[in-house]
């Protein structure tokens, strides 16, 4: 709108001229001109403040994303070291690979140590030998055990296997590739060994499949988010199953059935207030009611889902009500006019027409629930859980809690894991929100 500006240009000048004619003072004209320029400068400044505010918000957004991606992208790759492992049947004391017992008793960790010593024959002292074996991940013994179980004919042969390296070595190798090697807990001696392995092209970066297939672990290189993702899935499933029907039902009652009385007012006030209650309070409720009173187990998706249901209900009810309100009364009247009952009006006409809006609200509520951490801490979902949960009553972690736990871990390698987990979480949230927007665009009806 430029008309506003024009008007404000002309008006003071006109006023100025008339004053001029009456008093004939030149000083006043100068003063007014100055004042006008000042006012325009103020206008420009004000506009700039607005732009700067928006710029600040966007800058924070960009900063946050670049920081997280910059820290986390390297976690999608893992360093592996190749080792020529001789599956010595005599050393392992295995005669029959299919025997679980023999596999369990065999000393695979020792086999890896032996291989390391064979690879670096100059290493003599005990402590150096121990240090040498820390290049490969502490879980490597299980890895080669499983590999042998899959390939029984390997027994007695020599195989070249790519093993995961320890998290410190992983950090060293990745930072070295960027040009600035981060030593951390890697000392000179270990670094020289790693350099010689690199010179022999025995180390390389691969896509990190462990991150997506493993549960939590104390060892960063063996830690993955599968457990947390499945835990989140179970929790959201419970939340969705409970909150969507209840939320929609409550919205229908309030919009279509509720009489204008105190009880209805009370329900409305309650819903609006619950939407503003801090999420941690819902955690306290869950702890006191579900865990203490009903003695449900801690740290399970079932209880997490119940708490998140109570938390997301107001969001879903409010958006569902808006969707129902948007359905024009003429539709209801037409249905009633041809003899439909109240329930038929609601189920056959209002609900289908309001469904896109309700679904949008529900997806946004689910996205909220997916990112929520505080109430889940209260009901004990912070336990260290390695296994991938198989049902809603198995102990589980969820994605945001996993992020919280890893962010608290001292190992440097967990920083990139945390950032990568955040990237995964944000991806889910972006997908859900985009879905909500698309749904609204595709199915929204203008009356």
């Amino acid at each position: 709108m430029t008309s506003g500006k024009k008007m404000s240009v002309e008006n003071p000048v006109d006023h100025n001229n008339s004053a001029n004619r009456v008093k004939g003072s030149v000083v006043d004209t100068e003063r007014f001109k100055k004042r006008l320029a000042q006012r325009y400068r103020a206008e420009q400044r004000f506009r700039l403040y607005g732009l700067m505010s928006i710029g600040f918000g966007l800058l924070c957004l960009v900063l946050l994303f670049t920081d997280i991606i910059g820290k986390g992208h390297s976690a999608f790759f893992e360093t592996r070291v190749s080792m020529d492992i001789h599956f010595d049947a005599e050393y392992l004391q295995i005669t029959d690979v299919s025997s679980e017992q023999q596999l369990n008793n065999a000393n695979f960790d020792g086999l890896i140590k032996r291989t390391w010593r064979a690879q670096f024959p100059d290493v003599k002292s005990r402590s150096d030998k121990r240090l040498l074996a820390t290049i490969s991940s502490s879980g490597s013994g299980y890895f080669i055990r499983d590999q042998l179980a899959l390939n029984p004919h390997w027994l007695g042969t020599q195989q070249t296997l790519w093993l995961l390296v320890d998290d410190d070595v992983d950090v060293y190798y990745k930072s070295r590739q960027k040009g600035d090697a981060y030593m951390g807990r890697v000392n000179e001696k270990l670094a020289s060994w790693i350099e010689s392995l690199i010179a022999e092209e025995r180390m390389e970066l691969n896509f990190n499949t462990t991150f997506f297939t493993a549960g939590d672990s104390r060892e960063p290189e063996q830690a993955g988010i599968r457990g947390a993702m499945v835990g989140s899935l179970w929790t959201l499933l419970i939340t969705l199953i409970l909150s969507f029907p209840i939320g929609v039902a409550a919205a229908i009652y309030l919009e279509e059935y509720a009489p204008q009385n105190r009880w209805t007012d009370l329900i409305e006030v309650n819903i609006n207030n619950l939407a503003a209650v801090p999420s941690i309070i819902f955690g306290l409720l869950g702890l006191a009611i579900f865990i203490n009173f009903f003695e449900l187990p801690r740290s399970v998706p079932l209880v997490g889902g119940l708490v998140l249901t109570l938390m997301t209900l107001p969001t879903i009810i409010i958006s569902s009500r808006a969707a129902i309100k948007a359905v024009p009364p003429s539709i209801r009247e037409a249905a009633l006019g041809i003899g439909a009952s109240k329930m038929q009006v609601v189920l056959h006409h209002v609900l289908p027409l309001a469904m896109p809006g309700m679904l949008t609200g529900t997806i946004i509520g689910m996205a909220q629930a997916l990112g929520e951490t505080a109430p889940l801490l209260m009901i004990g979902m912070v336990a260290f859980i390695v296994d991938v949960p198989g049902s809603v009553t198995d102990p589980a972690a969820v994605l945001p809690v996993q992020i919280f736990l890893w962010a608290d871990s001292p190992e440097r390698a967990f920083v990139e894991k945390t950032s990568a987990a955040i990237m995964v979480l944000l991806t889910f949230l972006i997908v859900m929100n985009t879905l909500a927007v698309l749904l609204r665009k595709r199915l929204e009806r203008r009356w």
Binding site: G4, K5, M7, N11, R39, A42, E43, R47, G50, S53, I54, F56, G57, L58, C60, L61, K71, I246, A250, Y253, L254, Y257, I267, N270, I271, N273, A276, V277, P278, S279, I280, I281, F282, L284, L285, I289, N292, E295, P314, I317, S341, M343, A367, G371, E372, T373, A374, L377, M378, G380, P400, I403, F404, A407, T418, S419, I422, L425, L426, N433
Partner: protein, 462 residues
């Protein structure tokens, strides 16, 4: 049958009963001239049958699941303790745990006594019996309900009215969950807080200047005597929230003004959702950002100018929290600014005011109640925010107004007191509920004031 399988079976029985009810209503009126002679449509007859089938049996299942563990536990206990011997509750729960472990086969190391092995066997058989009894009784109840409803189907039977009434009651019940939640919150924090105030006087809690909740768990343990003066926590919360509001209110408000008064429609459609992404980012992500990026940056910047900020400074947590709240303030303000009628602006511009003068002297005053209420809501959100402060603010309760020092907040203390192993009757854990009560009251109060401000001072233009 397992509970999940039982529920599945129940759902199937209900579906079948719907089909039967519907079919029967059609067959009843077939000789009388088709469904036009029915009082209610076949759908309603089927639905009523299904309801009769579902409601009693689901209710029974619920009761069963609620009370079964308690009853079985009592039975097992009565078996372990034979001649009325006195056993402390700790020991009893240990024994029950052992019994559970024997049953699961996860008892390692120690060899359990014969009595406990017997108890485990007893527990197993009790559970089996109960599971069987539940399956049989719920399924038969479901069938009986369905059959009874089917016998009542006749051409003149008013199934529709009954179904619609039930439908309405179910809807009402769903909407009452909001009230139940509020009651649940109030009761849970209030009761535990009252227990807390029994051991620590409320005045000590509200006005005490010392906060060190570490108490001895056992009587013979060396530990702090525990001090529960919450003033440093309130002060820390206020400090961090204040910093957050200092960031969020000017930025959010100016962004809203620019977007609604200056920006072109195109700019607005692209930029507004981008700003709103900030509100959708989980708080745990902000916490990570605050702790690992912002706090070290502040420490470095501070040491460059000769200050020594704490690595868990209130400033870092407050700044990041402010960024989080920007879209909250901006979208609320945006709504109220847009609600100011265009005629007011036109009037002001017509008198020769510039755009910014119009905004400052006409639009903002007109929108002020809404803006104030938005700011209050944002403040209540800042006070209740948890993850950012848990990850980026400190644990030590200090009474300071220096934003470079580390302070702790109410929510941080609730989390630290309740995460991990806990005993439910020590003042240490109960203190968390007292803090929760304070938090709930304050946020609710802010909410009410915000609503009141809008109601009382809003100008009606149209």
């Amino acid at each position: 049958m397992e509970t999940s399988n039982l529920l599945l079976a129940l759902v199937m029985v209900i579906a079948v009963s719907y089909a039967f009810g519907r079919g029967r209503s059609i067959s009843v009126v077939a000789p009388l001239g088709g469904i036009k002679t029915l009082n209610s449509l076949p759908f309603y007859h089927g639905m009523l049958t299904a309801l009769w089938c579902a409601i009693p049996s689901l209710f029974l299942t619920l009761l069963w699941l609620l009370f079964e563990p308690k009853i079985i536990e009592t039975l097992v206990i009565s078996q372990i303790i034979i001649d009325g011997e006195q056993v402390s509750s700790d020991k009893l729960s240990l024994m029950l745990n052992t019994v559970e472990n024997i049953l699961a086969g996860t008892l390692l190391g120690i060899e359990p006594s014969q009595a406990l092995i017997d108890a485990a066997e007893h527990l197993r058989s009790l559970r089996q019996t109960s599971q069987m009894a539940m399956t049989v009784s719920t399924l038969s109840l479901a069938m009986m309900g369905g059959l009874w409803a089917m016998t009542k189907i006749s051409p003149n039977y008013g199934a529709r009215v009954k179904v619609e009434k039930t439908f309405k009651i179910v809807l009402l019940a769903c909407s009452c969950i909001a009230i139940l939640t509020t009651i649940g919150i109030v009761l849970s924090v209030l009761f535990e807080s009252l227990r807390f105030f029994k051991s620590i006087p409320a005045t000590d809690f509200l006005f005490g200047l010392q906060w060190s909740p570490q108490t001895a768990i056992r009587a013979d343990q060396v530990g702090g005597s525990g001090a529960f003066g919450a003033v440093p926590l309130f002060a820390g919360t206020m400090l961090i929230s204040f910093i957050a509001m200092l960031v969020a209110v000017p930025v959010g408000l100016m962004a809203a003004i620019y977007l609604s008064e200056y920006a072109s429609t195109r700019f607005r459609t692209y930029i507004k959702p981008l700003i709103e992404i900030l509100a959708g980012i989980p708080t745990v992500v902000y916490g990570f950002f605050a702790a690992l990026t912002v706090a070290p940056a502040i420490r470095e910047a501070g040491s460059m100018v000769g200050l020594s900020p704490s690595s868990e400074s209130a400033l870092a947590a407050g700044l990041v929290m402010g960024v989080m709240i920007i879209p909250f303030v901006s979208s609320l303000s945006d709504d109220v600014i847009n609600a100011v009628p265009q005629s007011l602006r036109d009037g002001s511009l017509g008198l020769g005011a510039t755009r910014s003068e119009t905004i400052k002297q006409v639009v903002i005053p007109a929108a002020l109640p809404g803006i104030v209420s938005g700011v209050l809501l944002a403040a209540s959100r800042a006070i209740g925010e948890t993850m950012i402060v848990v990850m980026a603010a400190g644990l030590a309760a200090k009474l300071t107004a220096n934003p470079l020092e580390s302070v702790t907040t109410v929510t941080v203390q609730i989390v630290t007191l309740l995460v991990g192993d806990q005993e439910f009757d020590s003042p240490k854990t109960l203190a968390a509920f007292a803090l929760g009560l304070m938090l709930f009251t304050v946020t609710l109060g802010l909410n009410f004031i915000a609503q009141h401000v809008v109601k009382k001072y809003r100008e009606q233009y149209d």
